[in-house]
Amino acid sequence: MSFFRRFSRSPEAVIGASILGVLVVMALFAPLLFPRDPLSIAGPALLRPFQDWSLPLGTDRLGRDVLAGLFHGARTSLAVGLASAATAIIIGTIVGTLAGFAGGLTDEALMRITDAFQTVPGFLLALAFVSVIGPSLFVVVLAIALGTWTGPARIARAEVLSIRERDYVASARVIGMHPLEIAFREVLPNALPPVLALSSVIVAAAILTEAALSFLGLGDPNRVTWGGMIAEGRTVLRSAPFLSIIPGIALVLTVLGVYLAGEGAVETTAVRRGRS
């Protein structure tokens, strides 16, 4: 049975994948559906939702289109979430593989660095990093990755420690393969599955961290973000609660979608392995 057929049998996975699908479509079509700069003024300020059908979700304090913001915000959330998770997993896996495979002093040094990063809360680290270097999309991605690479590093190291003792690694040494080639070609690909199982959690956490940074005004100022929209709405929370609630719901659904789809994928592959 194919992966997709089994995947589609699990209802959670289907719901998660559908939410993600909608998000991706929103992100892809945002510039087509809302070609105007979402930060520009589109109408009267504080228009409530469902009043004017050219601005279906209303406008914010400055008269900006909420629906356009939601669509363009999906781009930022997904881009930052995926990019920082990918960065964290790549850095983490490389560090973990090197530490586990080299052992000895290299392992000790790399793992103490990992400890150092892990003792500082990831969000504080990101906060400090962005405040010092200045908010731009690239810096935000890096800042989030900085706080999350330690998890993948530890898992990769643990996996590599067990793979290192397998016969096929000994066999690669016997034929004279270079240690770096053994680490990255023989060991790393086989250490990857458990790290990837963690990726949905990392992506979801990254999306939330990005929103939190934006909420505190440390997001990229030239982009619409959901966190920024929630922060904007906060000042008029009593008179126009929808300004915070709408992007808040989008955020919750996104994180839920990532979790469900990720879990579905992990379970599907686990079942496949269990059978074979």
Partner: protein, 259 residues
């Protein structure tokens, strides 16, 4: 007689696990001549596999010397050691565990050719085909994944991989123990054919005296990290002197032919 191919002398190795120290090798010395099969026999935990892994520099001994083709093998490091490994190859017990689970037959055979720069990219497929042919496999297997082929075929691929670098010595660590009996006979015959054609020496590690007697020139019996007896295979098996040798002979299953 020419100088022996490999001389190991005074090998010592201790492992410490959970506070306890285990002596794995205790003053182990032996020689292997060109084209000779030396079998290493002993109960589990006697140190046979540690010897194999020490000879291959997968484990470093605490003391002792290994001279291979007249050179101090333990003094070699880094790139020089990796280049030197071409002449000293190994076939493992479980052919499935000895290959990367993602590998294909062609990749497994391509690696040694590429690493030791034995052929340029364009010529490698031809060499891979001839290696497969030499171990009695069809070249059509080349694109199959390792986990798709049978245990006997896998062990043939492992032998082909070891052969690729034209080694002078091949360490066979329980290389036929996991195979079905009918396949085992074929693999042993293949090994003998290759030995005759290429003058390869074998260090044949096994706990099965029947197999050892059948293909080895000389045998060394190990017990508790020491070599306790050596001699021509047929003689040692027919008339073991050491206690462990006697126990091994007595314990070997015999077909009861009560007429």
């Amino acid at each position: 007689m020419t100088a022996p191919l490999l001389v190991a002398s005074g090998l010592h190795k201790r492992f410490s696990r959970g506070g306890k120290t285990v002596v794995a090798l205790d003053n182990v010395s032996f020689e292997i001549g060109q084209g000779e099969t030396l079998a290493l026999v002993g109960p589990s935990g006697s140190g046979k596999s540690t010897v194999a892994r020490t000879i291959l520099r997968l484990i470093e001994p605490d003391a002792g010397n290994i001279h291979f083709e007249g050179e101090d093998f333990l003094a070699q490091h880094g790139a020089r050691l990796r280049a030197g490994r071409a002449k000293l190859q190994m076939v493992f017990q479980d052919p499935l565990a000895a290959f990367n689970p993602r590998a294909t037959v062609a990749r497994v055979l391509d690696d040694p050719l590429r690493i030791h720069d034995l052929a340029d990219r364009a010529h490698r497929p031809k060499i891979i085909a001839s290696l497969l042919d030499r171990v009695g496999l069809s070249p059509n297997l080349r694109d199959r994944a390792i986990h798709e082929i049978s245990g006997g075929q896998r062990q043939r691929v492992a032998i082909a991989r070891a052969l690729a670098t034209k080694p002078a010595l091949m360490v066979l660590d329980e290389a036929v123990s996991a195979l079905d009996v009918s396949v085992r006979g074929q693999i042993l015959e293949l090994l003998l054919d290759l030995q005759e054609a290429e003058n390869i020496a074998y260090l044949f590690i096994s706990h099965d005296l029947g197999v050892v007697r059948s293909i080895a020139h000389r045998v060394a019996i190990m017990d508790a990290g020491r070599i306790v007896e050596t001699g021509p295979a047929a003689e040692v098996v027919a008339n073991p002197k050491s206690a462990i040798g006697k126990a091994l002979v007595a314990a070997t299953p015999k077909l009861l032919r009560k007429a």
